[in-house]
């Protein structure tokens, strides 16, 4: 009986292909939007989390300047005192619970090899940096302590730089020009891909801090200090210790606010992930509104369908159909219609999400729960919005319905 009804409704949907398609469109767009949003959203969340853990999930980053206040970036009255080597030295000497402490100064600089050039993120740092950031080398070796100390012109390059200059070739021992200085490539970093914000993490050149300060920055400043906590120390415990040591090293009286900021990457990761989730939820809700509009479309077309088929309903009632038979017939038709729209919408939504995932290099993360929910929800929309028209059909008087032209 139910199968019979489903077959009947499919036939009636097929009979008005264009009309059915246009009716479906609302549901299709709604479901596709919701699925695409949620899939892309969960992919982005995954990506953000992975990125931040790539930065080092137990990482503190110190930079000069006041912590960002709700009023906006640091005030004008404040002269930023950069971090210096003695700050780093104090941390290295006194901080407990850290696995690695490393300075890093950064700048976007033109890098040249032969006739090729590329603007790359050049970082001056030391041999602890790879450990602090949890970065690995594919080939070659890190800076030696003596290279770090003396600021020798050696460098490690990322995959993007490697590709640009050498293709698949071996870069080791080659000399590249960074700004107005030259350095010898001694190692290749493991590829890390893009961040969730579209930043290429492989377009980097690492060189010893002293070489960077002398030949590129032209000063003795340190932009950031990276501190990786060891496995037994939570960053929340490490942070006050870092603050104490730095305040002491920078000779700050207790009445003064710290002129440096310590960022905890774990907190940032959480904040980021929750921001993404909120964003996804909001976009999903907006997309959900279009589902509602789609449902109203279904209701509209079912009312038309019931009116058009008044005579058919009359015949069915006359030859012995009960109210519930007519009700079920139209309910099933509305449900099949919106379910069809839901399924098409899911396919399109997943397609869009897949495309977006490939373009934005985020993971393609379709959630079976979301898909199931979309199927259930579109069926529900059909039932809810199909009910009133179906009831109207079922309540028709057979005599009036048969007389209907």
């Amino acid at each position: 009986m139910i199968w019979e009804t489903v077959r009947l409704s499919l036939r009636s949907i097929r009979r008005n292909v264009l009309r059915s398609f246009l009716t479906l469109l609302g549901i299709v767009i709604g479901v596709a939007a919701v699925i695409a949003m949620l899939t892309i959203g969960s992919g982005t969340t995954q990506k953000v989390k992975a990125d931040i853990s790539k930065l080092g999930s137990n990482l503190l980053v110190v930079r000069s300047g006041r912590p960002a206040s709700p009023g906006g970036p640091g005030g004008l009255d404040q002269v930023v005192r950069p971090l210096a080597e003695k700050d780093l030295a104090a941390l290295v000497a006194h901080l407990t619970g850290a696995r690695a402490i490393s300075p890093a100064s950064q700048k976007q600089v033109r890098v040249i090899f032969g006739t090729e050039s590329l603007t790359s993120g050049v970082t001056g740092t030391d041999s602890a940096y790879l450990d602090a950031r949890d970065w690995k080398l594919v080939s070659g070796r890190p800076f030696s302590d003596s290279e770090t100390r003396s600021g020798t012109g050696v460098c490690l390059i990322g995959e993007t730089v490697h590709q640009q200059f050498f293709g698949a070739g071996d870069p080791e021992g080659e000399i590249i020009r960074v700004n107005r200085t030259s350095c010898k490539i001694i190692g290749l970093l493991e590829p890390k891909g893009y961040t969730g914000f579209g930043q290429d993490q492989d377009n980097v050149v690492l060189m010893p801090l002293h070489a960077y300060q002398r030949r590129i920055a032209g000063n003795r400043d340190i932009d950031n200090i990276y501190i990786a906590a060891d496995d037994s120390t939570p960053t929340s415990e490490l942070q006050p210790r870092v603050e104490d040591i730095l305040r002491d090293a920078r000779r700050m009286t207790p009445d003064r606010e710290s002129d440096f900021a310590i960022r905890d990457m774990t907190q940032i990761a959480d904040a980021m992930a929750s921001a993404t989730t909120t964003m996804t939820g909001m976009l999903g809700a907006v997309a959900g509104v279009s589902l509602l509009v789609g449902g109203i479309g279904i209701m509209n077309i079912m009312l038309v369908s019931v009116t058009e088929r008044t005579r058919e309903i009359g015949i069915r009632l006359a030859i012995g159909a009960h109210e519930k038979h007519i009700l079920i017939q139209f309910l099933v038709e509305a449900t099949v219609l919106s379910l069809l729209g839901g399924i098409i919408g899911i396919l399109i939504g997943l397609g869009l999400a897949g495309l977006a995932a490939a373009t934005l290099t985020i993971p393609f993360a379709p959630s079976p729960a979301v898909i199931l929910l979309a199927v259930g929800f579109s069926a529900l929309i059909g039932m809810v919005f199909g009910f009133f028209p179906a009831l109207r059909g079922a309540r028709l008087d057979p005599i009036d319905a048969l007389r209907h032209e």
């Binding site: 005579r311 015949i315 069915r316 009632l317 006359a318 030859i319 012995g320 009960h322 519930k324 048969l402």
Partner: protein, 235 residues
């Protein structure tokens, strides 16, 4: 139901529409009895109450006052769904405009009442084929109404009416849309079904020559039965 009791009885049946001054009586205290196996023609001008009487006979409508009993059941007091069940089990309908489902094959149209009876797919098909054979439409099972002539469409409608082996066939101007030759074919078919299956037939018509196929003619006028007579044998 006692043996020999009429299939259909009207006792002081009234059917009224509207309120107060505007109240109209389509039937005004009609008494009527039709026995099993009868072939009755119902005639009368429009507004005479014949259609209302037919709707009540077919359990599509209920009287405002009085008693309508069908097969000994007080059908006038049954609710919608119970009357639907009665129609499905015991009544077949044939209409002037055929009322077949468009874009649906002859066989599927004939199967329709059986679907609501919950008959299984295969049995349904067999019964539909039998009914189509009884009306002389073998070989047309898979034609849609648009591919059939008026006479053939009415045969499909008759097959649909008899596929449930009903007790009563209610025909509302069954030949109203047909030419003379087709009219006689259809009337001969109804006569055959009446004779061979013992099917009780009530038929509304306003054509005297069509009414002559019946054994008995009831004429309505202004909500009353004006005359009720047995027809002369037209052999």
């Amino acid at each position: 139901m006692a043996a020999g009791a009429p299939l259909i009885t009207f006792e002081k049946v009234w059917k009224s529409y509207g309120q107060g001054e505007a109240r109209v009586h389509a039937l005004a205290g009609v008494d009527l009895a039709i026995k099993r196996g009868e072939f009755v023609a119902i005639m009368g001008p429009s507004g005479s109450g014949k259609s209302t009487a037919m709707n009540i006979i077919g359990c599509l409508d209920t009287p405002t006052a009085g008693t309508y009993s069908f097969m000994g059941v007080d059908a006038g007091r049954l609710d919608r769904n119970r009357r639907a069940m009665l129609r499905n089990l015991y009544v077949g309908f044939v209409f002037q405009g055929y009322n077949l489902l468009a874009r649906t094959t002859a066989a599927e149209n004939v199967e329709l009442p059986l679907i609501y009876r919950g008959v299984a797919n295969r049995e349904r098909r067999d019964l539909a084929m039998q009914a189509l054979a009884q009306v002389g439409l073998v070989g047309r099972e898979h034609h849609t109404p648009a591919e059939l002539s008026g006479g053939q469409q009415q045969r499909v409608a008759i097959a649909r009416a008899i596929v449930t082996r009903p007790t009563l066939l209610v025909a509302d101007e069954p030949t109203g849309n047909l030419d003379t030759a087709r009219t006689h074919e259809i009337m001969e078919l109804l006569t055959k079904l009446n004779k061979e299956l013992g099917l009780t037939v009530t038929m509304v018509t306003h054509e005297a020559d069509v009414a002559e196929y019946a054994e008995r003619t009831i004429r309505f006028l202004d909500g009353h039965v004006a005359s009720d007579s047995m027809n002369m044998e037209t052999a």
